[in-house]
């Protein structure tokens, strides 16, 4: 079995990142440890909680269930790529204004999940949005305010 590192270049938030990782290293661990992007959080590490959700080619993916070696040639987006300098992304602003976070652990995953779905479907209905947001867990159980925040962001982001 191979513990040798593989050299590859990831594209994260539009920037190339050269890393050397063992094949068994997940995208989540690679983002955190090799790219220094610790905004992506790891909760369950088996694809249940959604805290580690990032966007791969604009689609939401659980980065604990993907290996970094699978990621050459794709565009990865993480929570660090949302804000424009000091200006929050509309989804971040909405979470701020509507108290969409308490402890904040699940927040990066929810932000990325919501961003992808609102970009892809700006007119998504309340019921379907609820189903999508049910993908991720919030152990503070702050779901109502998360839903309120995403509704507000939807109204803001609609073209």
């Amino acid at each position: 079995m191979n513990a040798e590192r593989v050299e590859l270049t990831l594209t994260v938030n539009g920037e190339p990142r050269a890393v050397a990782v063992e094949p068994r290293k997940t995208l989540a661990d690679t983002l955190r440890e090799d790219c220094g992007l610790t905004g992506t959080h790891l909760g369950c590490e088996h694809g249940v909680c959604g805290a580690c959700t990032v966007l791969v080619d604009d689609e939401p993916v659980r980065s604990c269930l993907m290996f970094a070696v699978q990621c050459s040639g794709v565009e990865i987006r993480t929570v660090e790529g949302l804000a424009d300098g000091d200006r929050l992304h509309p989804i971040q602003q909405a979470f701020w204004e509507h108290h969409g976070l308490q402890c904040g652990f699940c927040t990066p995953g929810f932000l990325m999940l919501a961003t992808s779905v609102l970009e892809a479907r700006p007119d998504i209905g309340d019921e379907e949005l609820r189903e999508v947001l049910a993908s991720n867990l919030c152990r503070c159980t702050g779901y109502q305010n998360i839903i309120t925040s995403v509704h507000a962001a939807r109204d803001q982001m609609r073209p």
């Binding site: 079995m1 191979n2 513990a3 593989v6 063992e22 094949p23 068994r24 997940t26 661990d29 590490e45 088996h46 694809g47 959604g50 959700t53 689609e59 939401p60 993916v61 659980r62 604990c64 269930l65 993907m66 290996f67 070696v69 699978q70 999940l113 779905v117 189903e131 999508v132 049910a134 993908s135």
Partner: protein
Amino acid sequence: MKPAAFDYRAPRTLEEALGLLREHQDEAKVLAGGQSLVPAMNFRLARPAVLVDIARVPGLDRIDLDDPGSVTVGARVRHLDLEHNTIPGPLGVLLARTGRWVGHYPIRVRGTFGGSLAHADPAAEWCALACALDAEIHCRSANGARVVEACDFFEQMAFTTCLAPDELLMGVRLPSLGDSWGVGMAEFARRWGDFAIVLAIAAVERDGDSVARARIALGGVAGGPVRAAHAEAALSGRAATPESVAAAAAAAAEEVDPTGDIHGSADYRRDLVRTMVTRALNQALA
């Protein structure tokens, strides 16, 4: 919660992929969407020495509509692609209805149809659907190709199929149900996105006011998906009435032999079979 070390291979041709499987046999595992395999690896329930990533093998992500009598779904077609129905007729309706029950949205973004069948979770939606429709599972190894009927593909032991270690599941041929068919799908889980406690898939061919043929399969009641043969017989050739649906649902509940676990007792599952079959049939006959 970190996987054991493995060699990563990403073949660019089918021949190369099959060669790797032949070389490494049961030391190797095929990686497609990874939504079941990677959790198992993170828990170290699976410790493959070699991971053969089929993402770059051409052709496996196609839905083939060329044959008028059937639709062939490539192994790497994602749950999401089937949920966003592009297949005409009742088969497309059934695939779309069923697709949205497979895990959560981010799981459906990565997870694949063929991967679900090869993984063979007893409560998996696609396994029951393949069984209900007598799908043909197309398998290939370096030594040649073979076709297995879905109901023979799944062993009655959880997570077990007849796929050999050196074989790749290439795709699944499903009958393109004509307009005389109606389809239904019902599932019960404690929370949205969870695995089913019980699920039922139904396809019913109408002949005027009566039922010419019924196909019913269940998930969550045995080691693999099962056909409800008695329920099918109770409905076939009968008038499509609430009474005949009730008789079929009762027959299904009678013929299964579920075991109880933390999610529900055997009696509870049996009761759910009756309810799920009723709902799936009512949808199919609507």
